[in-house]
């Protein structure tokens, strides 16, 4: 009999050299934290400690902001064509060291190597390349002939796409002439620290990029530091609210990219097989750790049974396991805390009367894991239909008419993303117009590009990243 089992195809980790401790990257060099505090970062696929990173305190953040302030006058006055060259250098070095970054990202984050290698890192390089090209074209960004940077940008990023979120933040900030203090997430600090080495290789002037690792308190110090002129945050809506309050009454500029509860709407005239693939991609890409995930499936009643049947078949084939295996589709949950949150919300689904189905996949015994899961019989009032789970859990609701689909899709405080599946052009355009979402995907899902603005309506945040709209967030008109 033919054996369709896959042999293991493990990516080598030899390309990654971890140090025992990582300091903070301030003023162009790695320094010991004034806090003298370190914390472990784990491989979520095994639970093993990878290394120790510094937990910056207020004094560390102050040193970083001061370095960024010192670097700002010269950096912002460099001709754009010269700033561009630094960013192009960074883009090229990231391309050259792409595999090293991909493996390290997979180790620290738990996402499959297939994704870090083929999605995250190519996108990261593209972001730097794209924004490099803006540095000498800022007069086309819509703020007149002589647009100005804000000054020091304080940037706080999440753990779901550590390097990509770094690129989304740092590339436009530097292109526009700002200098940066970036705080990576506490469970995924390592690629940001490797990026600091890239800045060194590119001879980026000292102080232009500063990386201060730590947890929430460190991030709060970055956001509230009086020397920070522009705050950019990607993360939960709850923390976004805190940040918005903390800068109230200051002159700080703020952009927020927060949570989501994206509706993926499948009409009865959709190409069902494509839609099923899109649903799977929409919720199980990156273990569902995606703010714009299509976490609510709205499927038209007449095709609901067919879609669900095909969906279960498809999900049963997803390979869940070692993220370093090149055949793995779904990797580890990023942390114990996130796993607990997913479990708690999934349990609420059971308690509130929804019906749970999970992929019959075998899960590894160490590390943090949750199987791809679907809830049916979900009603709009259930917590799993309202709250962001940020995990591989899909809530399925049905509808009868386009108007009902739109009503249900918009029935959320969030407004980040939505998907529409139908072969009828005029209908998808009408639905796209009616959806309260910053990004609408038609017959596709989870597509990203540096030229394409990304960001939310309503409580999913404000400001955009990518495209001219994203660049504009880092510029202002000349006085």
């Amino acid at each position: 009999m033919t054996n369709f089992e896959y042999a293991p195809a493990l990516e080598s980790t030899s390309v990654v050299n971890l140090r025992e401790h990582y300091g903070l990257f301030i003023d162009g060099k790695f320094v010991s934290p004034i806090s003298e505090e370190f914390a472990p970062t784990l491989n979520p696929a095994t639970g093993d400690v990878l290394t120790q990173y510094a937990v910056g305190n207020e004094a560390d953040v102050d040193a970083a902001v001061r370095a960024a302030q010192r670097a700002f006058p010269r950096w912002s006055k460099l001709p754009g064509s010269e700033r561009a060259k630094y960013l192009y250098r960074i883009a090229r070095i990231l391309q050259e060291r792409a595999r090293e970054f991909a493996v390290l990202e997979t180790l620290d984050n738990g996402k499959p190597i297939k994704e870090t290698r083929d999605f995250d890192l190519p996108q990261v390089a593209q972001h730097f390349f794209y924004h490099a090209g803006w540095a000498d074209k800022l007069e086309y960004a819509g703020y007149g002939n002589n647009p100005q940077p804000h000054g020091v940008a304080g940037q706080v990023i999440p753990w779901n796409f550590p390097m990509l979120m770094l690129a989304w933040k740092i590339a436009p900030a530097l292109a526009a002439g700002n200098t940066v203090v970036l705080k990576p997430a506490e469970t995924t600090p390592l690629t940001a620290l490797l990026f600091a080495e890239v800045c060194q290789q590119a001879d980026l002037p000292k102080g232009v990029v500063n990386i201060v690792t730590g947890a929430g308190a460190t991030g709060a110090s970055v956001v509230t530091h009086p020397g920070v002129n522009k705050v950019a945050f990607t993360g939960s809506t709850a923390v976004g609210q805190k940040i918005a309050r903390s800068i109230a009454g200051t002159k700080k500029q703020l952009t927020l990219e927060l949570g989501g509860k994206g509706a993926n709407i499948v009409f009865d005239d959709a190409a069902i097989d494509q839609a099923v693939d899109g649903i799977v991609n929409g919720i199980f890409f990156n273990q569902g750790h995606v703010c714009c995930a299509g976490s609510r499936l709205l499927v038209q009643e007449s095709v609901a049974d067919e879609v669900l049947q095909k969906l279960q078949n498809r999900i049963s084939l997803l390979r869940v396991g070692n993220p370093l295996d090149k055949n793995t589709d779904v990797g580890a949950i990023n942390s114990a805390a996130q796993l607990a949150r997913i479990q708690e919300l999934a349990n609420s689904g059971d308690l509130e009367g929804a019906e749970r189905w999970s992929s019959p996949c075998e899960l590894p015994t160490t590390g943090f894991w949750f199987p791809p899961t679907i809830f049916t019989n979900v009603s709009a009032s259930h917590r799993i239909a309202r709250e962001e789970i940020f995990g591989p859990v899909l809530s399925v609701l049905t509808f009868r008419t386009p108007a009902e689909a739109i009503e249900k899709a918009n029935n959320t405080p969030y407004g980040l993303s939505a998907g529409i599946w139908s072969e009828k052009g005029s209908k998808v355009m009408a639905v796209a117009n009616a959806l309260e979402a910053g990004v609408v995907w038609i017959n596709t899902f989870n597509k990203f590009d540096p030229t394409s603005p990304f960001g939310g309506y309503k409580e999913s945040g404000y400001g955009r990243e990518g495209g001219i709209a994203g660049l504009a967030s880092y510029l202002k008109a000349a006085n």
Binding site: S81, A84, K85, Y88, Q126, F129, Y130, A132, G133, W134, D136, K137, Y140, P402, G425, S426, K427, M429, A430, N433, P450, T451, G467, I468
Partner: protein, 287 residues
């Protein structure tokens, strides 16, 4: 001990990614700034021009089919390789064009920066010149730029390198392919630039360089039915330029008339816009 005799390079045309002699078998003599012999350069003929147009047309679809990001990276790569050929180009600019060494370095600086500047436009220009049009009806209506196709370029007679690059880059970054008649008197750096193109991942046929006399080959290109646009920048004789413009009307070619250019200043997006069509798409909205 006998002195080593150095090996001289044969200067050929650059058509479809290959270095070829003119099918006419003709060449012409290039002297340096001190009137010493430098090389016999191929004199492009009507047939060479037609071969170049065929190559440019054949390359057009794939070149425009690349992602804008990819085209941008290739233009950037041309800049990288040009920078690595600095020493050679400086010596050519000094010997043949008669520039001072300082000025030659300045020209290379400008040429590299120009390529990098244009490279960045590849994935941005559509966002500047395209539009979403709020028509008074239930329609999604948008306009996108698309390349005109094959563009003939009469390159400037002076500024043999910077002028050449400043006319070619806006043509190709927008997804067009180019057939270029280089400066008659100063073709040496153009051939070196062809060698740079040949080693920069630029697909064969995207840029074709013809050394020779625009007054002789220009009419064939101007009246060629498979050329979509013509850049007359280097057609410095007004009567000749007018003749070429009149010939170009045969298939409604887009014509860029010659004017005095300051190649050192920021070029703006004007040249790129010349080589673009605007396509507007209507799509109904409604259930």
């Amino acid at each position: 001990m006998t002195e080593r005799i150095d090996v001289k390079k044969t200067y050929k045309l650059f058509i479809n990614g290959k270095f070829v002699r003119s099918e006419s078998g003709y060449s012409y003599e290039i002297l340096d700034a001190k009137s010493n012999f430098v090389a016999n350069v191929s004199l492009a003929s009507r047939k060479d021009a037609r071969d170049a147009v065929s190559a440019a047309r054949a390359a057009s679809k794939a070149w425009n089919g690349l992602t804008a990001y990819n085209r941008g990276q290739i233009l950037y790569r041309i800049g990288e390789v040009l920078e690595s050929r600095r020493a050679q180009l400086v010596s050519e600019l000094v010997q043949v064009d008669g520039l001072t060494e300082k000025r030659a370095h300045r020209v290379i600086d400008l040429a590299v920066d120009r390529l990098v500047w244009y490279a960045g436009w590849a994935d941005k220009l559509a966002a500047i010149v395209g539009s979403n049009n709020p028509v008074a009806g239930p329609f999604f209506n948008f306009s996108v730029p698309e390349p005109s196709g094959v563009v003939s370029v009469i390159a400037p007679s002076r500024d043999s390198l910077l002028g050449l690059i400043s006319t070619i880059a806006p043509v190709i970054v927008t997804g067009n392919t180019a057939v270029v008649v280089t400066s008659y008197a100063l073709p040496i750096t153009a051939i070196t630039f062809a060698e740079i193109l040949a080693t920069s991942d630029v697909p064969a046929g995207v840029v074709n360089l013809l050394t020779g006399d625009y007054a002789a080959i220009g009419p064939w290109l101007a009246e060629h039915q498979d050329v979509d646009a013509i850049d007359l920048t280097g057609a410095e004789n007004p009567e000749k330029a007018a003749e070429l413009e009149a010939l170009a009307a045969v298939n409604i070619k887009r014509v860029l008339r010659p004017k005095t250019e300051d190649w050192e200043s920021n070029p703006g997006v004007e040249r790129m816009r010349y080589w673009l069509e605007t396509k507007t798409v209507w799509h109904p909205i409604g259930f």
